[in-house]
Symmetry: C2
Subunit: 174 residues, 2 copies
Amino acid sequence: MNSLNLKNFIREIPDFPKEGILFRDISPLMEDPKIWAQIMNNFSQLCMKVQPDIVVGIEARGFIVGSSLAYKEGLGFIPFRKPGKLPGDVIGIDYKLEYGNDRLEANEKSLYKGIRVLLIDDLLATGGTAKAASDLIFLSQANLVGIGFIIELSELNGRKKLPKDVIIESLVKY
Amino acid sequence: MNSLNLKNFIREIPDFPKEGILFRDISPLMEDPKIWAQIMNNFSQLCMKVQPDIVVGIEARGFIVGSSLAYKEGLGFIPFRKPGKLPGDVIGIDYKLEYGNDRLEANEKSLYKGIRVLLIDDLLATGGTAKAASDLIFLSQANLVGIGFIIELSELNGRKKLPKDVIIESLVKY
């Protein structure tokens, strides 16, 4: 099958979630299994490069991307969640957003020393959330080997916040 | 492969999210690809029965379950989300929780008349959220043909809230 240009299927929504932001909506990609299969095949190539043991997805759209990929690759899936959502003992990282603060949490026992982690999210924007997730992986002594995004908003320079020794791939760049 | 007893892998956490509730945690199921594959195979059998065109998953754990299944079956995936999360025009349903109210939203155009929908979530408890999701599918004039849960807490009678003419399957019952 010829490769589809994903940009043609990403929906642009002005002023969401607030005025002045052009939101890139991946819903049409999820709704079309041919497009989704292409995305998963692209991420499989990243998996071949970085040989992860497990996939971490960031709440909430990262769950959709990461879960499909983990299933395809026969890997386990670990969710990184907003505070208070995960039961039991958790580890967490507080981080700054443009306005205010947020926190990302993981089950304390899910990650451990040496396990090879592929971090997945739908979008790399300013990089705050992905940076917090990579810090959380570092905190757990796991080995972050790759990060994959469907979309990267290059002009926001989020990539500069992320670890230099990790393979970072985005399928679509603006 | 012999079928694994899923109950052996579900983690029980007392007093979460509040005192007196015994939380059934499916994290260990997601982390083990053999167990996850068994769950997906079980849901594939449900798909064979109900022949869905698309999978709907409810935020947030329903995204993890539904996305893997949609990928496996070569079907599109549609997220039902908490209010304010989806961009663009949405349809929504307000519903009551034990304490307070909540709302579930879907992209206005994702579902339409006659499309066969399989609704997926991790847990059927009192059924409030699943009922709201089935109402939202009805509102969109789509055809809800099946509902699948990993866990059903039978004593809470959530199933009684759900449509009578739809095949409802839970992989683990308490």
